[in-house]
Symmetry: C2
Subunit: 364 residues, 2 copies
């Protein structure tokens, strides 16, 4: 990621910024290789301090020392014992820093107050620098695309290993566990989000939590699963039926699949996230199910499982080649259940490269 780092340092120079404090875990990893996660935003495992020139500093604590030494070879390592602000108080003068940039979307109001107090006492200007790393992360480099392809392939291999063993009477939790086990046994770092297995009425909740409810014959069961491999996420949804689906189920399956294909067909560089969303949404609207598709069509995927760009009516920005997105329309009927189909794709100049190849219950 050295290109991104030096581009960012050029940006700092252009804006007259001396240092950039980067704490957002995926941004931190993107620029340094340090893979630690935060246990919530209040329990940081460290921050990068990026000067306009030269090597970044990785500031962390005792608990992460060995991991940081091993992973962040391009950084100088400094440990804090009394918290980050106390370390910054001694560091900023060493850099003769007159300005410090921070991430406004990964800095709590309370943390900003502490930084502001510190900067005022040192005569340092504190500047919000928003989305610069996230923007660079949207367009994937070749080795990132390779990692994502591996992550998607492993995710499909997990699904295909578990799917044939599914039987009516198994609980949603049991199946979610079997999938997450298979992920880790096959070498994933972890699930990229809590695996969703939701059958019957539970599937009417797009963010359902697996329950002890046994799966019934003939009902649609949403399985939304993803994993992390070498830091990169995958995300796929299949809706399966154990036994024979009834007519209504089949017709809703076909509707959702047509919407997905319409979304994929609209996907290419130069088109806005909104246009892709609307291409799929139109299909569902015309079938009278508009109100039953209450979420956006898709989202970017990379080091984070949800990242920019979003495919939603609110995103008027144009897509670029090398972005990776999900296309996941759904229809949810309270009391009955739901159907969602989700594939990932790379945006290209002329259209898209499909990342998923599994076809289970896609074309009925």
């Amino acid at each position: 990621m050295h290109d991104s780092l030096s581009q960012l340092q050029l940006l700092l120079a252009r804006r007259g910024l001396d240092l950039f404090l980067v704490g957002q875990p995926e941004n931190r990893r993107y620029l340094s290789g340090f893979t630690a996660l935060d246990h919530g935003i209040s329990e940081s495992s460290g921050a990068l301090l990026i000067p306009r020139q030269g090597r970044p500093l990785l500031l962390t604590d005792f608990r992460y020392q060995l991991q940081a030494e091993r992973e962040a070879a391009g950084c100088d390592l400094l440990l804090y014992r009394r918290g980050l602000p106390a370390l910054l108080k001694t560091l900023l003068p060493k850099f003769s820093a007159r300005s410090l940039a921070f991430e406004p979307r990964y800095c709590l109001y309370s943390q900003h107050l502490a930084l502001q107090r510190l900067c005022q006492s040192l005569g340092v200007r504190l500047v919000a620098l928003d989305g610069e790393i996230e923007r660079r992360r949207q367009v994937k480099q070749a080795q990132e695309l390779a990692a994502i392809r591996r992550s998607v392939a492993l995710n499909e291999a997990v699904f295909q290993a578990v799917y044939p063993s599914l039987r009516p009477g198994q609980s949603e939790i049991e199946i979610a566990l079997a999938l997450e086990n298979a992920m880790r046994i096959k070498g994933a770092e972890r699930p990229s989000f809590d695996t969703i297995v939701a059958g019957g009425p539970n599937a009417a909740l797009p963010h359902a939590i697996p329950s002890h409810r046994p799966l019934a014959t003939g009902e649609p069961v949403i399985i939304d699963m993803g994993l992390v491999l070498d830091g990169y996420c995958s995300d796929m949804t299949r809706t399966i039926v154990l036994g024979t689906p009834d007519e209504r189920t089949v017709s809703l399956f076909r509707l959702v699949r047509r919407a997905q294909l319409a979304g994929l067909a609209a996907l290419r560089a130069g088109v806005s996230g909104r246009e892709v969303d609307l291409a799929a949404r139109r299909v569902i609207n015309e079938a009278g199910h508009g109100p039953d598709f209450g979420h956006g069509l898709g989202h970017g995927v990379g080091l984070a499982v949800h990242e920019a760009p979003s495919l939603s009516p609110r995103n008027r920005k144009l897509l670029k080649a090398g972005m990776v997105v999900t296309v996941e329309p759904g229809v949810y009927l309270k009391g009955w259940g739901g159907i969602r189909l989700e594939n990932m794709a790379v945006v290209t100049e002329t259209g898209h490269e499909p990342l998923n190849h599994d076809s289970t219950f896609l074309d009925l």
Copy 2:
């Protein structure tokens, strides 16, 4: 939790605050029963809007509608489609609100900017209200203690079910998976944090990530595990040896255990977190291993697995009866490994009530 809600409403009245916006997931759950988690601070699953009098509103989106209806019976439900600020723009005037309190430790700088803009346009005063719910959460009510006891008991049952099956040659990941599976099969909602299984040199990292490394005979293996049951967390660490520990290992085990017992003996209402930490730390310092114990002695546990109060040299606040804490000294030697022992206890007026009863490898 109706007591906490009405106490909080009294506080709002006393401070002349009309509304309190509560987004922190554990605080939200504590006051409403709504169990949804956030997928990171940028992907909120909702917020409570608490008026000075009357029922709180639960503001969420389409995805969580059914779950919110089911779980948050004491709240009125309102859905937003265009984000929380847009909904607040129509809501604040309906309440004739002249002030809005927010949580400074769960509000991003960027979110605060948006709130500030909104409040300015409506002539509403925006006020940071810090730690009021967290402070109330520290002292557990009777039914919370009962839930924590169940969570700790289930966590020990999981450990005791898996422990006899452990063999040299198994990988850290394999064991972590076996533990997390057993948690969920036995009815836990989820692990309360990523299970740590770390043997040999990997155990020198207090926050080690399980690896594919096979466990060797005779080496200490740190197992740090916890689960969530009915929303409440448990957290326990055992260090085990497969085979016979050598003399150095035994002597370090005994040192850490003596430190733990010293910490537990110092624990009672009216004593500061610092004093309890130092009681344990003194034992390790006197053995010359002070620099090898680089973290605090313990932390509060409840709806969050890490919450106030901390047992650390920096916490001069006095403990109260009904607080629940971990006592977890450790010694970590780079290149060799580590030993950590962690039990949970309830602070009482005269001392503590131990929550853990498992004695595996505690007293050698």
